[in-house]
Subunit: 346 residues, 2 copies
Amino acid sequence: MSAQVRGNTNSSVGSSKYIAPMRVGVLGFGGLGQAAARMLVAKQEMLWVAAADLKGYAYSGEGLNLDTCLAAYQSQGSLGYLEPGGILTSRSIQELIAQASSVDGYFLALPNLPNTFIASVAQMFIKSGWRGVLVDAIKRTSAVEQLLVLKEELAEAGITYLTGCGATPGLLTAGAAIAAQSYAEVHQVKITFGVGIANWEAYRATIREDIAHLPGYSVERARAMTDAEVEALLDQTNGVLTLENMEHADDVMLELAGICSRDCVTVGGVVDTRNPKKPLSTNVQVTGRTFEGKISTHTFTLGDETSMAANVCGPAFGYLKAGVALQRRGIYGLFTAAEIMPQFVK
Amino acid sequence: MSAQVRGNTNSSVGSSKYIAPMRVGVLGFGGLGQAAARMLVAKQEMLWVAAADLKGYAYSGEGLNLDTCLAAYQSQGSLGYLEPGGILTSRSIQELIAQASSVDGYFLALPNLPNTFIASVAQMFIKSGWRGVLVDAIKRTSAVEQLLVLKEELAEAGITYLTGCGATPGLLTAGAAIAAQSYAEVHQVKITFGVGIANWEAYRATIREDIAHLPGYSVERARAMTDAEVEALLDQTNGVLTLENMEHADDVMLELAGICSRDCVTVGGVVDTRNPKKPLSTNVQVTGRTFEGKISTHTFTLGDETSMAANVCGPAFGYLKAGVALQRRGIYGLFTAAEIMPQFVK
């Protein structure tokens, strides 16, 4: 962590005031990574200093410029073409970590394709000797389980890793963890999301991850689909993907937090790839029994006007800020969005 | 903190497993304190070992018995009459703290009458030399501000104090802090609660605290009212209290967490003192602007079947458990429910 990041060391109230902004990197520069960068450049408390895509990376200690980064990526296909500061390399993440030692934390806005990719990136950080905060918006249970295996190694490396910190898992999982507090026993956590995007090409990797949840599909099969094949599939459903009983890490996260068994958690939703209006209001319902024996349901519903990008990247940076506070206290290891209160980033 | 309370020291995932239960005390044995005790005795992870009222206290290292405590209090007016283990004294809190050094944490289920009372209790703990976790379900902004003054003293005393950890502030404030994550800027947090209780006599102090929020009333005036005067007031409104723009600490808590200015937070509600059915569903609405410039509102709504007791005491013990984890890491001072993720207590 940068020596410039200093807060109140005596207690937490008021500790959100930093003297210098946190220095933040974003790995991945597709739809999600670009939205993250756009969000970051408007934050006073964070400075966007590093970004990487498959073919290259860009780093600037004074902060990256969003317009020039977008221009380089969109016109030439990689941040590595950025002038000055871009480096073209097939080992973009490893080289960026090695160069940018003053970065306080990274948001891994990478599609987890293949399903072992995020865990392999975590291993790159462990091997690098860098100490700081990592945050992902990973979705699958099996992907979080791969990180659980790395728990001790992350702690020993001095890395504070927060997993499952997007919308779901993330925002809604944290909402469920709060809602659970009214109950002696939690019986069901039911997450239902609605996503509307104007055109799927802006979120190619995210939509492929969704397709991978459809019956008969796998992560590998979805990843191997050409754009034309995705288009053909979407034509069959009028652009709508209906997903049920998805493998979603909300389950393992709520189980790890001791709230309920993973079997009590269900995740499903509807994604409209041809209409920015959400097909339904994203919500989580938490049903349980109170200490008095009453059965009831709390509901946390997201406003329809909030986009997937706002609901994923906002929490991701909120958890990154919370992670920096943990780092500062010497608290390393693996945490989930259900355990840590995200901090609001101005 | 008791040496028996030990968790996983490497990282937080899985740290909710304790070898021995946390040893918990409850200060105050009115409606809220009794509900807290009833909740506690059903928890595997917590052991109810101490309780105090105005006239006495009870302590047992092996755990207190709910039935005998209730019988002593209801038949003779104080836990001090409990046989064996009860002590009659007008200095019940000081004497209990001095005797019960192995208590890991206390829930202050005390009516804050006068409005300086909870802060004076915090000072008793600071002076006592006891180190552990304190949790309150305090309501007024001015009451939390008195604790803020004690922030450094609490930290130096090795006390981890979590304030505003009931329903509102508490459960709903934490829900608002989560909901805020989708926004670049939070414009309004609007808390509206519905409370239904079968008869006001079960919550004499709580109802007096509500009356104190009515136009023309103060904490002192409400406290000085006889039961007959309260009854007469309630007769005028058919048992319903409608409260608007209440002085509620949700505002200062969300401001301290950096989420919004206190002026953006409003708290109001309807209390029906003659019907256990809630007059409206308790909810918090969080309105803000996303990084893309959209205005939207997230809503967190509590199930009507959850009682005030479930929504206050559940979070209080969830924060107490989180506080014990902070203690174990040597983290002392003052925290609010908007900063810390409560942990689920089995």
